[in-house]
């Protein structure tokens, strides 16, 4: 990733082949290394390997330790993640061929890859936070990939704001754990917190912070509104971020901190509730989406909600299988989405008639009188976004504007009498600026 960045900074036209060679080597190599590790672990019957890479920096008693954890949770994830980045890279090499932003795509893809590897292999929450930030940043920049149109940029910013606010949850969790437990390192295979003082309040607080962190990345209720809007980048980046890797980092983090959930039924209950609400929201709203990418986005959201519920119930192995299965299934679906017309036609031929209309299931369940109402609710995305924007963000914006006006009034209190033509000119130019 760094190599790529440096190349792009210094040279004007880096050939596609060179870019692809760098990315392919990195992720191909990483996948093979992951597979080799997995093989080694199976052969030697090792459950967990900790790789301390030493102290990155330290001040006084505080040390930033870099340690990787290889266990049954992280190794499959890592192999799967790097492999998928490699595959999507191979796909994109043809898909984005001759695209002016080819280099930027691969740069961001490698940032994503690096972020995912960091999150997955991290031995402590600090390292996870680093990876978490990288994934969020690359994701937002890829949503805004087609930078000349306003919609992608708007939606990219929206995704970034959601991420950033939820990252604050993760950072708070890091800081909080250091404060209460003295470390944020995962110690044993299941992610037992070292010497954590399992008094109730700190654990619940830490758990809720972590839950907040996962809400954004995994597009859970009520912060999931960015997900369908994020389908603005190239189809391939949508597939890997919102079908496969980025969206499943939330479940991964929860699996990593599973003991925290076990320690506190309150946190587990919160996770379950969020998961349930999201699954219901996703499935109802997803049913009315008439464009393929939104439909797939809500389908993803639903499944991640279900995975949250599984984790809350302690079905960790099931959740892991579900994550990997869903990730590959969904990313293939998104990659195939431009072939929808072709596939629909083939499907009709295979079924042998016009495709049966599938909505009957729901129509039987919901009373007739409520149906149009529920349909509208689903069409308007459960009103979640509208409530967030108009009843949470808007008051803050109004407050900021008010303070801004006060600020300018304070400044104009210092203004002397009008001075003449020069001041006039300055004034008009400022007017233009103020009003634009």
């Amino acid at each position: 990733m760094l190599i790529l960045a440096v190349l792009l900074w210094f040279f004007d036209d880096v050939p596609e082949a060179v870019i692809w060679a760098v990315v392919a080597t990195a992720f191909g190599g990483a996948t093979l290394a992951g597979l080799a590790t997995a093989g080694g672990m199976v052969v030697h019957d090792v459950d967990e390997v900790r790789v301390p890479l030493g102290t990155w920096f330290s001040v006084g008693h505080y040390e930033f330790e870099v340690a990787l954890v290889l266990d049954r949770l992280s190794v499959p994830f890592a192999v799967f993640g790097t492999g998928l980045v490699g595959l999507v890279g191979a796909f994109s090499q043809r898909y984005l061929h001759r695209e002016a932003r080819f280099a930027r795509f691969f740069l961001l893809l490698s940032v994503l890859g690096a972020g995912v590897v960091l999150v997955v292999l991290a031995g402590s929450l600090d390292l996870i936070f680093m990876g978490w930030e990288l994934v969020g940043l690359s994701s937002a920049l890829l949503v805004a990939f087609f930078d000349h149109r306003p919609a992608p940029v708007r939606h990219g910013l929206r995704a970034f704001i959601t991420y950033r606010l939820c990252d604050a949850g993760l950072l708070s969790a890091v800081v909080w754990l250091h404060h209460t437990a003295g470390t944020s390192a995962f110690v044993d295979v299941s992610g037992q917190w070292a010497s954590i003082d399992v008094t109730h309040v700190p654990v619940v607080t830490a758990g809720l912070f972590i839950l907040l962190a996962t809400l954004g990345k995994s597009a859970q209720v009520p912060l999931g509104g960015w997900l369908p809007r994020a389908m603005e980048g190239p189809t391939t980046s949508s597939a890997i971020f919102y079908g496969a890797l980025s969206i499943h980092l939330g479940p991964y983090l929860l699996l990593r901190s599973a003991t925290l959930l076990e320690a506190s039924p309150w946190v587990a209950g919160a996770v379950f509730t969020i998961g349930l609400l999201t699954a219901l929201h996703g499935t109802v709203v997803g049913r009315v989406q008439s464009d393929i990418k939104s439909a797939l986005a809500y389908a993803s959201m639903t499944q991640v909600g279900v995975i949250f519920m599984e984790i809350a119930l302690g079905l960790r192995f099931l959740a892991l299988v579900h994550v990997v299965g869903h990730a590959s299934y969904r990313s293939l679906q998104i990659l195939r989405s431009p072939s929808l017309l072709h596939d629909q036609h083939n499907m009709e031929r295979a079924v042998g008639s016009a495709l049966p209309h599938p909505g009957g299931h729901l129509e039987r369940l919901v009373p007739r009188a409520l149906q149009p109402w529920l349909y509208r609710l689903a069409l308007e995305r459960g009103y979640l976004d509208a409530v967030l924007v108009h009843f949470v963000v808007a008051p803050f914006a109004r407050l900021a504007r008010l303070l801004d006006r006060l600020e300018r009034a304070w400044l104009s209190a210092f203004a002397g009498p009008p001075e003449g033509p020069r001041a006039q000119a300055v004034e008009t130019s400022q007017d233009i600026e103020a009003s634009s």
Partner: protein, 442 residues
């Protein structure tokens, strides 16, 4: 006073005089940048000389620097930031006199950090504000911003001078409080920040950067760090700083004026530094000094990248995307990376600084720690929002040029510092942390 210190102090001043004589901006800028580069190189000998022999009075600051080694780096840091400000100042719409004033500000700032003698600090502190006032008087609408600037800076200079006077008689609580309030005005601590917004509106960006980004108040504060105030005062100041950090971050997110957004970013970051300085843990103090320098350098580059953009496209609003990534890819990338480095992008030294700062603070002030987290989150949003608004959108009618050779060189240098130290943060923490001094004094 050693020869080196003298050279360091004189170089920017001479540069200012020469630049003032120049007939066109480019010459003035070349002269200014050259003198500041030389000053930076000379100043880099300060930590070296400190390392070789602590008592060798090659540099006047060796006495205080032995208490806080970060101060040994301060002269180099100050002139580097001024160098960035001068070298990145666009020629379009700038007069040679403005360059000269930037140099004068740099000279005064250098005086404060290189000669931590109370009298020098008091005088240099006051002198540093004069060039900015001159510039504002010329540019401001009906004199508003110049008057406001004067109204804020005169008390600041008075308070700092009397604080220095009081403290030179031995540490008193009053002296400390007076000094700190004087410093706080210039650090634009809320609610004493309005002058900065007015200044960014009217003054050339380079001058504002040279005046604000070095945050020489931090150096003064550090040089007085053996005078420990009562815990209550420290806590009060930490709370004010934290509120400043969050409040400014909040205002920054909703700004629609690019320059003001940058100003709020400055204010919020100096609030963060302030919290760390008031925390007794050495992790936090190291974090604070590291944040001080990182943020100073990164936001200087960030603000000057904005200035470079303004030279190409005029004043910028953040209302809607109106830029083009395709035309100026490097400028855009530098803008984004520098902005994010100042708010803790992983793989830059900003991340290290921020991590230390938070970790150190939370032990003493858990709730302030969480406020700082919120402030950083909001600042990140401001940076990315500005990036999207400035560099995305439909291409303009006239294609604009990407980074020129000069700009590319300067920004490469800044980026190299930030990323290099980010990848090998031990260098930075060792230089900024007191552990080094502690081991030496044993």
């Amino acid at each position: 006073m050693s020869l080196l210190t003298l050279a360091y102090l004189l170089l920017p001043a001479v540069g200012a005089l020469l630049a003032n004589q120049a007939t066109d901006v480019r010459t003035a800028r070349r002269v200014g940048a050259g003198f500041l580069a030389a000053a930076t190189l000379i100043a880099s000998t300060a930590p070296v000389s400190l390392l070789l022999a602590a008592d060798d009075p090659l540099w006047a600051l060796s006495k205080v620097a032995s208490r806080d080694p970060a101060l040994a780096w301060a002269p180099a840091f100050v002139s580097l930031v001024s160098f960035v400000a001068v070298a990145m100042t666009p020629a379009v719409g700038t007069r040679p006199a403005s360059i000269a004033r930037m140099m004068a500000v740099a000279a005064a700032a250098g005086g404060v950090v290189a000669m931590p003698h109370p009298a020098v600090v008091a005088i240099a502190w006051a002198l540093g504000a004069v060039p900015v006032w001159l510039e504002l008087r010329r540019a401001s609408e009906r004199g508003a911003s110049a008057r406001m600037f004067a109204l804020y800076m005169l008390p600041s200079a008075g308070l700092v001078a009397s604080g220095c006077f009081l403290l030179s008689d031995g540490g008193t609580l009053t002296g400390f409080v007076v000094l700190t309030v004087g410093l706080a005005i210039r650090e634009a601590v809320m609610p004493l920040h309005s002058w900065l917004l007015a200044a960014v509106d009217d003054a050339p960006m380079g001058l504002v950067v040279a005046f604000v980004a070095p945050q020489i108040g931090v150096a003064v504060h550090l040089s007085q760090n053996d005078i420990l105030p009562s815990a209550g005062v420290g806590e009060a100041m930490a709370i004010i700083s934290a509120l400043t950090a969050v409040g400014a971050a909040f205002m920054g997110v909703f700004q629609s004026n690019a320059r003001r957004a940058v100003a709020y970013l400055f204010i919020s970051q100096s609030g963060l530094v302030g919290v760390g300085l008031e925390t007794s843990s050495e992790v936090a103090r190291t974090g604070a000094t590291l944040t001080w320098m990182t943020v100073g350098l990164a936001s200087a580059g960030f603000a000057m990248a904005l200035a470079a953009l303004e030279a190409r496209r005029g004043r910028q609003s953040l209302e809607r995307p109106a830029g083009s990534l395709a035309e100026t890819p490097r400028l855009a990338a530098a803008f984004l990376v520098l902005g994010l480095a100042s708010v803790g992008l992983p793989a830059t030294v900003g991340f290290v600084a921020e991590d230390l700062l938070m970790q150190g603070t939370v032990g003493q002030f858990p709730s302030l720690g969480l406020m700082m987290v919120a402030a950083t989150a909001l600042n990140g949003v401001t940076v990315v929002k500005a990036f999207f608004a400035l560099f995305n959108g439909t291409p303009a009618r006239n294609p604009k040029q990407d980074l020129l050779g000069r700009e590319r060189l300067v920004l490469s240098l800044v980026l190299a510092c930030l990323v290099g130290l980010g990848l090998a943060p031990a260098l930075a923490t060792r230089a900024a942390g007191p552990s080094h001094a502690a081991t030496r004094s044993e």
